[in-house]
């Protein structure tokens, strides 16, 4: 039996970055807000204290902070001709779990997308004509411009205390910053983190080759900082346990270290943890959400009515809930019609491993986002007319970690075990270096999400099915980017390098990044997008969907900066426009 609870003004599904940002904005506006979170409550000193936060076995290998596939998973296949199978052990990406969500375990690389990224299709066809795009590529414009989003990027960076160096202040180029970035209204709230030897050497090599290296913007703080909400973060200690880990030093921006302390003091906010939202309930018209139905850890079912439903779960689960709730038309790759599940995309990463004789990089002096990068080969910053692909990415020397289990590099050809492996591992722990590219992933007609016809979860709901593979455009891009990167790395003076461009087919078992995108994309036309430019559902006007779910395709950057900016943009619109006159914010 489902128990019906007293109604609230807004119910939030998932208490990670976007859920916390919206909860803060809406409770400040006076709304009663309930956040429903599938995972447990998590706090710094009790759940990832410095006393054991750096337990690589527990967190990296055994996935302590992540969702257990037994609780919820999805099926995967590369091609529509295959039968998808359930993921029983996370590999390619790591679905977060618990309060703070991905904000707890990210590396805190906090980027803005390029202005051209937001009008990608228009930009590329204007510059190169229609023929440059492969026929099955389904990229779209976002329906929002960089300039519109800029104040909200700024809000997110000042919330996080992002450490970086401006490259473009109101149109004026700044030395030592990223010259390719869109014009920003002011500099980062904190100076860049200090660079270790590897990134320093990379920057020297890049500069020599005529590139403009700049420090990667980092959500790991270069100094103590109090954000506009009054919450204080400590300085990063360069321990190198960021991605996969919670930060025990209060120095990585996360909902815990930037928002939750304030939210918890508000009497009009409530969080219910270990509660799984099963569906969004619609009224008879199908145009209005009544609230959500969820189950607690005892299996008790509750209906939580709400005036406003905010879907703030991880990208994959937002899409899953939309499909399960019958909101919007499911995408059909055969006809290209329908919208929910369309334009699922990812990220195309690659690396160059370099081995040196007389260098000591001290890889354990690390932070999830210290590094020196160049942006010459991102987006459309370089001429694609003769390259046979579109897209690009940043590249650089980013010293995320020197963790002993994970980060042991040996040159290609070294035996994978035994005395020779041990010898090489010991020899190169300090004297090898990995530089990376972080490339875009555009969207295609045959890359999408739908409900699996065979497999169900413990509640009897159909699992979501991912159909995804890399396309030639992305693989060519990765090869090109990796070659450019290798040229710079070669200048650093290694005796041996291994180029590792991304190759197909996409594999679900090897960790690459957790940057899954799309599935309920934003846009200007309800026939080609699920959400309008304010992240409001075209079909159900009191439903807003946050996160990378809304990306029509992914750019050559880590997505969280844009996810945060979109959440602030949407929150502002809800508070300043929607609440005064509930209903569709854009007429379809």
């Amino acid at each position: 039996m489902t128990r019906k609870l007293p109604p609230v003004d807004a119910v939030i599904v998932g208490l990670g970055w976007t859920g916390s940002i919206l909860a803060e904005a809406l409770t400040r506006a006076g709304l009663n807000v309930v956040a429903i979170e599938r995972g447990p409550w998590r706090d710094t000193s009790t759940d990832f204290p410095t006393t054991y936060a750096q337990d690589e076995l527990r967190y990296r290998i055994r996935h302590e902070l992540f969702l257990r596939p037994a609780q919820e998973t999805m099926t995967f296949r590369n091609k529509t001709s295959e039968t998808a199978l359930p993921i029983r052990h996370w590999g390619s990406f790591m679905p977060p779990n618990g309060v703070g969500g991905g904000g707890v375990h990210w590396n805190a690389e906090t980027w803005r997308f390029l202005p051209s990224d937001f009008r990608l299709k228009t930009h590329l066809t204007e510059r190169y004509g229609n023929s440059i795009l492969p026929p099955d590529m389904t990229i779209q414009d976002w329906g929002i411009t960089f300039d519109e989003l800029e104040p909200y990027y700024d809000r997110f960076e000042y919330l996080c205390g992002t450490s970086g160096k401006a490259g473009n202040l109101k149109g004026a180029k700044q030395a030592n910053g990223n010259p390719w970035e869109g014009p920003r209204s002011r500099d980062y709230p904190n100076p860049p983190q200090r660079q270790p030897y590897g990134p320093t050497l990379f920057a020297e090599a890049a500069k020599e080759m005529g590139y403009s290296p700049f420090p990667q913007p980092s959500g790991n703080l270069s100094q103590a900082y109090t954000n506009p909400l009054g919450v204080t973060l400590g300085p990063c200690t360069y321990c190198g346990f960021c991605e996969w880990f919670g930060c025990g030093n209060y120095s990585k921006a996360s909902p815990q270290t930037t928002i939750l302390p304030v939210l918890l003091r508000r009497t009009n906010f409530e969080a219910r943890t270990l509660c799984e939202v099963l569906r969004i309930d619609l009224d008879g018209s199908g145009k209005r959400a009544r609230g959500v139905t969820y189950a607690d850890s005892s299996g008790e079912m509750f209906e939580q009515p709400a005036e406003l439903v905010l879907l703030c779960a991880f990208q994959l689960f937002n899409v899953h809930l939309l499909l399960l709730s019958g909101i919007g038309k499911p995408y059909d790759p055969n006809t290209g019609e329908g919208i929910i599940g369309k334009n699922y995309s990812y990220q195309v990463t690659s690396s160059v491993d370099a081995y040196f004789d007389q260098k000591n990089f001290n890889p354990f002096v690390a932070s999830g986002s210290i590094g020196m990068c160049i942006d010459e080969f991102n987006g459309d910053n370089f001429d694609h007319s003769k390259l046979g692909f579109v897209g690009g990415g940043y590249m650089g020397a980013v010293q995320t970690n020197g963790r002993p289990l994970e980060t042991v590099r040996v040159p290609k050809g070294t035996p994978q075990w035994g005395a020779a492996w041990k010898q090489a591992a010991a020899k190169y722990y300090l004297s090898s270096y990995q530089a990376v590219t972080h490339g875009s992933c555009y969207s295609y007609r045959d890359a999408y999400c739908d409900l699996d016809p065979i497999y169900t979860d413990s509640f009897g709901r159909k699992l979501m099915r991912i159909t995804f593979d890399f396309h030639q455009n992305e693989l060519k891009m990765s090869e090109y980017l990796t070659d450019r990167l290798a040229e710079i790395v070669q200048k650093m003076g290694p005796h041996h390098i291994d180029k590792k461009p991304r190759t197909g087919p996409y594999t679900i078992t090897d960790y690459q990044t957790t940057h899954t995108c799309g599935g309920a994309i934003m846009g200007t036309d309800p026939t080609t997008s699920a959400l309008n430019r304010y992240l409001q559902s075209w079909d159900v006007s009191n439903l807003f969907v946050m996160g990378a779910t809304a990306f029509p395709q992914n750019a050559g950057y880590n997505p969280t900066g844009t996810v945060g900016a979109l959440a602030f943009w949407s929150a502002d619109t809800i508070v300043n426009r929607y609440l005064k006159d509930p209903g569709p914010l854009v007429r379809s």
Binding site: S45, T51, G230, T232, G234, G248, N249, P261, V262
Partner: protein
């Protein structure tokens, strides 16, 4: 003529016996009196004892653990049966200022009447007027849970005779108005000495060591005098104000019982009053002589150095300077160099969460080390931080840590 004389007599009669009695001294019509009373009740932190966590305001029931046994704070809502609704104003004034209960019995000095006595009758009446406005709650509390012989209140007559000096606060000539305001707040409603002054074996204040620190409820309430090493000598007036207002400052963070005081009382006080408190405290003369610093060659110092680098330096910084408003400084800290290391050992064992206030909502916490460090290791690292960066304090022994570890195990959760 005759009639007007009659009216006069009647008026006189009314004035003498009627009106004067009909209008009580604590007046629920008087906004100003109620507002004053609320502020005094905040300064006096009445709620700290008289409100149970999660309970109705002032309905009592919070157990105070004293060295003699348990005392429950009574219900002071205006409920007539179980609260103080049936008390006369005089009853209330007597209880607050003289420690005499409703039926003439002596109150246990867990009720800080030896401090409240510094307040005036009008101030006591203002508090009464405010308490008359809170929701009456029917909640029977049996205050006296003490074992024999402490449950015999007659013994308190002797206690009062020994330790209780009734009487209003008298401003000191030659001191500024601000200093006198501070002295009044500290000695009177703020009742700082209730925790921060050492108690003798009968629970009376050791007045010769006023505000030099005292142990209660497993915590050491630190030295508040102007002593530069173990007191507030190294704190500026602004440091003290910021600490009391927000629970945090550039040096340290409030935790343990003091966090309740900050949340319920000092964070709501006027800045001018906090400044007055600071000015007064900083004027109190230093008394404690520094012990000899433990030599760097001492085995505890060597082990402590290594443990500090591994376990502590990431937050408190290798320089021991901490991070302002975030991680307390160890270098030069009076809390670290305190003669009594209770808090240090306790916090290392158990961890501690600093207090959250509107002005400083972060409430960073230190994790527990009880599962990770042995008694000897904790003794070494605590000795090290007490004697490094120019700090000077007596070493802490393994048995000090062991004792506290077992005391914490016995403490009620």
């Amino acid at each position: 003529m005759q009639r007007s004389a009659l009216v006069c007599i009647l008026l006189l009669f009314l004035l003498l016996f009627g009106i004067g009695r009909a209008r009580p001294d604590s007046d629920r019509q008087d906004y100003q009196q109620i507002a004053n009373g609320r502020y005094l009740a905040t300064l006096g932190d009445c709620t700290g004892c008289h409100t149970e966590p999660g309970g109705k305001p002032y309905a009592g029931g919070l157990a105070l653990a004293t060295p003699f046994g348990k005392i429950l704070a009574p219900n002071i809502t205006p409920d007539r049966e179980t609260g103080i609704g049936a008390w006369s104003d005089d009853d209330f004034v007597n209880a607050l200022l003289n420690g005499t209960g409703h039926g003439g019995e002596r109150l246990y000095p867990a009720m800080p009447y030896p401090f409240y006595t510094k307040m005036s009758r009008n101030e006591a009446l203002a508090i009464r007027a405010y308490l008359n406005t809170v929701e009456p709650v029917q909640h029977e509390v049996h205050s006296n849970q003490l074992p024999f012989p402490f449950n015999i209140r007659a013994g308190l007559l002797a206690w009062d005779w020994l330790f209780f000096t009734p009487g209003r606060f008298e401003p000191a000539a030659g001191q500024s108005a601000e200093w006198n305001r501070g002295a009044y707040l500290v000695q009177g409603p703020g009742h700082c000495g209730a925790c921060h002054t050492k108690k003798n074996f009968l629970g009376g204040d050791e007045t010769s060591r006023a505000l030099q620190g005292g142990v209660l409820q497993g915590w050491f309430a630190p030295n508040l005098t102007g002593d530069p090493r173990v007191g507030l000598g190294g704190w500026s007036v602004d440091d003290i104000v910021t600490y009391l207002k927000t629970g945090h400052n550039r040096i340290t963070a409030a935790t343990g019982p003091m966090s309740e005081v900050v949340v319920d009382s000092t964070s709501h006080a006027l800045d001018a009053d906090l400044r007055a408190i600071a000015v007064y405290l900083k004027s109190l003369p230093e008394r404690e002589e520094a012990p000899k610093s433990v030599a760097d060659s001492h085995p505890s110092m060597r082990a402590g150095n290594a443990i500090f680098a591994d376990q502590c330096a990431a937050c408190h910084a290798p320089t021991g300077e901490g991070i302002a408003n975030m991680f307390p400084a160890l270098k030069g800290s009076s809390a670290i160099q305190s003669a009594d290391p209770t808090n240090l050992i306790r916090i290392v064992l158990q961890g501690a969460r600093s207090v959250a206030t509107d002005a400083a909502p972060t409430a960073p916490a230190m994790p527990a080390f009880d599962w990770k460090l042995s008694d000897a290791e904790i003794a070494a690292v605590v000795t090290y931080i007490r004697n490094n960066w120019g700090n000077t304090a007596d070493p802490v022994s393994e048995s000090d840590v062991r004792r506290q570890r077992s005391a914490l195990a016995e403490e009620e959760p």
